[in-house]
Amino acid sequence: MKSENMPEAARQEWLAVLARANVDSLETAWADISPQPSIKHLRAPEIGMVMVQGRTGGTGGRFNVGEMTVSRCTLTIAPDQESMASDRLTGVGYVAGRNRRHAELMGIFDALCQCPKRGPRILKSLISSMKIEQQESRDADARKVAQTKVDFFTMARESGA
């Protein structure tokens, strides 16, 4: 299949952007796509739980942080009318939370991004702008938090006090 030739890092990047994207803006972007490809669900959008694991300080032993809800979907699209069955592109969507439509849209856009014909345009217009938006909002949060940052330190007691 096509995605074997895709540089994995590039796909990871757009998947990360799509997973954090606003559903409404994905919905709008989807409505703008024409012609719309035909979609076949391999795994219909569904909600489930995953166990999140962490390491203290990033180095300690693994422990279970807790469960979180995740929605996922796997689908294939036919990029254009005359494409053969073997040309179908597979897209996956895994998003935090219970929005099945988000997982579905993420899958659709993942598949579209892999399309040699349509992919580059979507990456250039949609993905890169969403990436900038997400980066800006992260930066804004970071700045807001930084203003109230407190540096803790231990005061040495005066002897005899």
Binding site: K2, S3, E4, E8, H41, L42, R43, T74, L89, T90
Partner: protein, 199 residues
Amino acid sequence: MTATHIPSDAGFSDSVLSSQQTFRHVLTAMSHPGQAAGPLSMVSSPKSMNPTVAALCLTLCDEDAPIWLAGSLSCEAVRLYLSFHTGAPFTQRAGDASFAVTDDLVGLDFSTLNVGTTSYPDRSTTVIAQVDSLSGGPSVVLSGPGVNGERPCELPTLPPSFLIDWMERRHLFPCGIDLLFAAPTGVLALPRTVSIQEA
């Protein structure tokens, strides 16, 4: 995840309804030995696997139910399909499997399967046998739980030693092997309790 881990066949279109319906058919078949139940929900499946076997696996197998594959079902396409849709692990040893899925009854040695223990007879292997038709084999008379008196019926094509093996294993009860025949038209069960006599 790359596309190489994703099969080209979809699972149930409505997983809750379809799997409940399939489970109902399995219960019906199990409680009426020798009587066909179905047809099961249609589901697209890899080439070597018929849709009934696929529906049964998608309904019954999960992360805690290891699968053992044999015959023409022991192929990469089937493995990919089942692990994507069920998450079930695969085992090389038939005795470790909750479900033995095969289309090769001749090559299946029932003594390698897990019959469960007297404390946990439910931990036995259930055989899902893919067949072309639910009839065409020996004419037999079934009796035992689920059969009012005797039930004459025709079984799918079976290896010659099957009936003798089956009757020899009956003394293992409450342990034993349950068998589900899965043809495109439906499912037929031989639970461990059933007694089979040649007609």
